[in-house]
């Protein structure tokens, strides 16, 4: 919403400075987005008269001018070719800072001749690129007058950002009213001069009738016919007003409607009545109807838009834009004025569907003042007749003014209770009065107000509290510290939430970088990760690449890994902790820690052999997350039934009883190919909420540590087993052979080749025995070794290697 200061002063009696007006607007909630104030920079420049101009004694291209400033005559040296005696010019006196902020004019001596100022060009004032000579003013330009004022540049233009609730401030008058409430001047009465609204007497009945088919879409339509108008240019004052805010003056009839739209937030339309076929009807559009709009574009309508139509078809989109064929031209003689109310929701929807932003829509979707329809059409009539002549008809009225009258009670104590600042009752009353609420103060401290027709946004007591507070000033609300519920800060996160942080920082410490990737991806990619149910397909995706909710964290991380590789960074470690989606219910999302590694796990290095990432890196990551979040490590089982996006022979699933805690593995090469990413690439997913939370039943104390006084004993074993026998089976058998003594079983070698028959493998491991109450004898050690041999052979069908 843009308006000029002079326009504001049509409605506001004030001598407040521009800065104060702007600060107050922002403090009122009418945020000033920008001010164009050319007068400020141009303030020192004034009209002067060159009395004489003589050649500079020491320079061919310079002249010595005697300049009359109105307050005296000074000598100025000037280099402009057009400087001459008798010329009215613009003078920058000594001390002037030029608009570029860099040059300040000083008293000086130029080639031996004193100079006391500068005669300026348009470019030097930042007005244009014109720099062939100094500005030449008309002869009648009054001496000493501000140049900005002379040129009409002293009218700053203010632009405010309007919140959707403030329909009233979509007009200059509403803004003036707010400023008056805040003490910046007083609101002028809305009468007299060009804003007169007294009823105009009709000279005839309107030959154009109006009917409304849908009163919800158009509750009230007031029209008037004016015959015999002459549509020419609008007067200078109106053109200046519109130009200042960036609207191009078109013709008197159009300019009048634009003026009232901005002045009192009243969008109007004027038809060329001679183009109308029969009466006017406000109705809902039929699908397929078309309109050539005033913006020159053609629109095809659906079956839910409010239109103004005649017998032949659609004339305009109600509250949005008029049609070109029925619009006014220079040749227009008879007009029909439309001043109506339209449903804000439907108006907004129409504008949105067709992509039309107009000044009318801006106001109708916020809500046009339902109580001002009649006075607005009178005002419009008066302006048109004043500018274009013509004979007005009686009003044509269809529908009725909707009931907008309502009363609200404000308990004056609520301002302090809710706002935290005491505003005296008299001040509350004053604020509401100036805002147009006509408050009545009762003995019990309540204020009842009728809500004015232009404040459809004020619905309840809290709204009135806001009115009082914002006018009183949010800055006057004393800052109050929050009372602390506890002397010492309690944890803000639950143990469950805390685990997410553990997972993140553990993975980062392991060399993975935390990524945050989209929660969505393409359906084509999702297919490779189990797909998504229809309920997770976005109805309005931003692009086909991002059209379903992700079923897994891996695809976006794999894609990110590929992008890094494409940029030349092939050794990638990325993780993310975030949601994966199973279905569309609130419970249908899992919090997952997922990660990928690609390229070299150990890069080429002088001291250690390079090594690509492999499944055991992903396994270690998954296990580290599980340990960090407190999964009971000893009871984990690993199965080899990972889903299809993993390499079937190089992946595993981590289980705890019936619960799946996570999975890891090489990503299936077919999936990588489909995603266009080079392998090998390994990944893992840990389902954090599947990990049981540790129970804090016995407080914070740990189980008592029992240390053995006896040395542990280590024995190595090697078994030849079938190639298919899993190491885990061997380890479990060895561990189970003597649960009291066997503390640890660590595999240190896995061998296939000469000495081991094909189809078999040798697994070697160290068993650590931890005696608790005495040193073991050799015989006792041998006995345990024997039990291990029997247990492993029985469990695996393998044999102890000699």
């Amino acid at each position: 919403m843009k308006f000029s200061l002079s326009w504001l002063k049509d409605h506001l009696e004030t001598d407040a400075a521009l800065d104060r007006i702007c600060d107050t607007l922002t403090a009122l909630g009418l945020e000033v987005e920008g001010v164009e104030d050319r007068a400020k920079a141009l303030a020192p420049f004034a009209v002067a008269h060159v009395v004489s101009a003589e050649r500079h004694p020491n320079a061919d291209k310079l002249q010595v001018c005697m300049v009359d400033t109105g307050a005296g005559t000074i000598q100025v040296v000037c280099g402009a070719p057009n400087a001459r005696a008798g010329l009215k010019v613009v003078l920058a006196p000594v001390g002037t800072t030029m608009p570029d902020g860099e040059l300040t004019i000083k008293k000086g001596v130029i080639r031996g001749v004193e100079s006391n100022g500068m005669l300026v060009s348009e470019r030097e004032l930042g007005l244009s690129d014109e720099h062939h000579g100094i500005i030449e003013l008309p002869d009648d330009a009054p001496l000493g007058t501000s140049y900005a004022k002379l040129m009409g540049l002293d009218d700053p233009v203010i632009e405010i950002a309007l919140t959707p609730d403030r329909a009233d401030c979509a007009g200059v008058r509403g803004i003036a009213r707010d400023l008056a409430a805040a003490g910046v001047g007083s609101l002028k009465p809305l009468s007299g001069g060009h804003i007169e609204s007294a009823p105009v007497k009709g000279a005839m009945a309107s030959p154009v009738g109006v009917t409304i088919e849908d009163l919800a879409a158009c509750p009230l339509f007031v029209g008037r016919y004016i015959s015999g108008v002459k549509n020419g240019s609008s007067p200078r004052w109106l053109q200046d007003k519109l130009s200042a805010v960036g609207l191009r003056p078109i013709s008197a009839l159009v300019d009048v409607t634009n003026y009232l739209c901005l002045d009192i937030a009243r969008p109007l339309h004027v038809f060329d009545a001679d183009t109308l076929a029969g009466g006017i009807v406000a109705r809902i559009s039929q699908a397929g109807e078309t309109l050539k709009a005033l913006n020159g574009k053609d629109y095809t309508l659906d079956d839910a838009m409010t239109v103004i139509a005649d017998r032949d078809g659609v004339l305009g989109l109600a509250g949005v834009i008029g049609g070109e064929p029925s619009g006014c031209t220079e040749e227009t003689v008879n007009v029909f004025i439309e001043c109506a109310l339209f449903d804000p929701v439907r108006t907004a929807a129409t504008g949105r569907k067709l992509g039309i932003d107009s000044d009318a829509r801006y106001r109708f979707e916020r809500g046009v003042d339902p109580g001002a329809v009649f006075e607005s059409i009178e005002r419009t009539t008066r302006l048109i007749v004043e500018m274009c002549g013509g004979t007005p008809s009686d009003l044509v009225v269809a529908g009725a003014e909707p009931k907008w009258q309502r009363q609200i009670t404000l308990r004056t104590a609520r301002v302090a209770q809710l706002g935290g600042v005491d505003v005296p009752v008299a001040e509350q009353k004053r604020i509401l009065t100036v805002l147009g609420f006509a408050p009545a103060v009762h003995e019990d401290g309540h204020i009842t107000v009728p809500v004015p027709s232009w404040r459809g946004d004020v619905e309840g007591e809290a709204d009135l509290v806001e009115e009082v507070l914002r006018v009183h000033g949010y800055d006057k609300i004393p800052v109050t510290p929050m009372a602390r519920p506890h002397a010492i800060t309690r944890p803000a996160v639950t143990p469950r939430q805390r685990r997410l942080g553990f997972a993140r920082r553990t993975l980062a410490a392991r060399g993975l970088n935390e990524a945050v990737t989209w929660s969505f991806l393409s359906a084509a990619t999702a297919v490779h990760f189990g797909g998504v149910p229809d309920e997770l397909r976005l109805l309005n995706p931003i692009s086909a690449d991002l059209d379903v909710m992700r079923p897994s964290l891996l695809p976006n991380l794999i894609a990110a890994s590929g992008r890094n590789a494409d940029r030349g960074w092939a050794d990638v470690g990325l993780f993310e902790v975030g949601p994966a989606f199973r279905d569309g219910t609130p419970e249908g999302q899992d919090i997952v820690a997922g990660g990928v590694r690609a390229g070299a796990m150990v890069p080429r290095h002088w001291a250690v052999p390079a090594r690509p990432v492999d499944v055991f890196d992903a396994k270690a990551d998954a296990l580290a997350v599980l340990e960090a979040v407190g999964a009971p490590g000893g009871n984990l089982q690993i199965t080899t039934d990972a889903p299809g996006w993993y390499h079937p022979g190089r992946s595993g699933v981590l289980r705890l009883g019936a619960a799946m805690l996570g999975r890891f593995g090489e990503i299936h090469p077919g999936v990588l190919e489909a995603l266009g990413v080079k392998g090998p690439l390994v990944g893992f997913e840990v389902f954090l909420d599947a990990v049981p939370q540790s129970k804090k039943k016995a407080g914070t104390a740990r189980a008592l540590l029992k240390l053995s006084a006896f040395q542990p004993i280590r024995r190595d074993f090697a078994f030849v087993v079938d190639q298919s026998v899993e190491a885990d089976k061997v380890i479990r058998a060895a561990r189970g052979a003597d649960k009291a003594l066997v503390r640890e079983v660590a595999v240190f070698d896995r061998y296939q080749g000469p000495g081991v028959e094909p189809g078999k493998k040798s697994l070697a491991f160290t068993v650590t025995l931890q005696p608790l109450d005495k040193t073991l004898t050799e015989a006792e050690i041998e006995a345990v070794a024997g039990k291990i041999k029997v247990a492993v052979e029985k469990a695996t069908g393998g044999v102890l290697r000699a």
Binding site: E461, E466, P478, T489, Q497, L538, I542
Partner: protein, 356 residues
Amino acid sequence: MVDSLKAEILGAIGATTDPAALEEVRVAALGKKGRVTALMKDLGGLDPEARKARGAALNVLKDEIAAALNQRKAELQGAALAARLESERLDVTLPARPETEGRIHPITQTIDEITAIFADMGFTVAEGPDVEGDFYNFTALNIPPEHPARQMHDTFYLPDAPDGAKRVLRTHTSPVQIRTMLANKPPIRIIAPGRTYRSDYDMTHTPMFHQVEALVIDEATHMGHLKGAIIEFCRAFFDVDDLPVRFRPSFFPFTEPSAEVDIGCSRKGGELKLGNYGDWLEIMGCGMVHPKVLANCGIDPAKYQGYAFGMGIERIAMLKYGIPDLRTFFEADLRWLKHYGFLPLDMPSLAQGLAR
């Protein structure tokens, strides 16, 4: 004679250059057939007086030789060790074995910082789902169907739930307020950080971003408290003690009165600096929870009141850490993560400081 022998043997000891030669000198002097040993054997043929004197002299000689042998032995061992260590010299300017440490994403770090600050003001962290019913995302927040305010958000829609309810990706974290109020009785004091979604993608918008929402409901909290909490937060988070904070009236359907919050800044020379420089930068919206929202959540607005505010996490992270482009947060570019990310052990706390 003893003196000359002593000089001779000590000379021989000093002349040795390796442990074997030294051993030879020892044997030649003190061994069974050694020269000093031989002299000791000759003592028997002397008269007692002479034997006593000579014996004492020989014992002194023996001790001196033994001491010289030990000293020389240590010298030789030291030299040998030095020689060995010299031969073991490595180029320690070679790089150490590779280790990698990852980084924590600025969004995580910022959420942890926000949590640390609000924990100190007695808030706890609440959560809600990303896929929301439109009741929670809109209706309960006093944004009725077809209200123009719904157009303020470019909402992503999912197919309707089986019961006909509309499903959306939450456009803000405010539905967590609703879930919290429906599930808990006042007093309530929560923050809700999380992912949010709007259908917008350009220089300054991404279809997914993060917000944090705060909600306080009790019988006495008013706008003065709202100002207090936000000012404290802004100054602690941005680490600027005198950061100016301004409250401007604004409009949100779910608060009344409503405000937008600006912090002081300077944009001189195209560089953004936070502090008391006279210019303003908008960072969040806030207000007193609308009575209709309370009522929608089964909380009596005649008895309870409170405030809510919300802000963009990426936005304040960009301001605090000088990150120029929102879109880069989600690109998972390793160079970016290394540069703008945080060390895993750099856990924000008020005790340790929120930022290094």
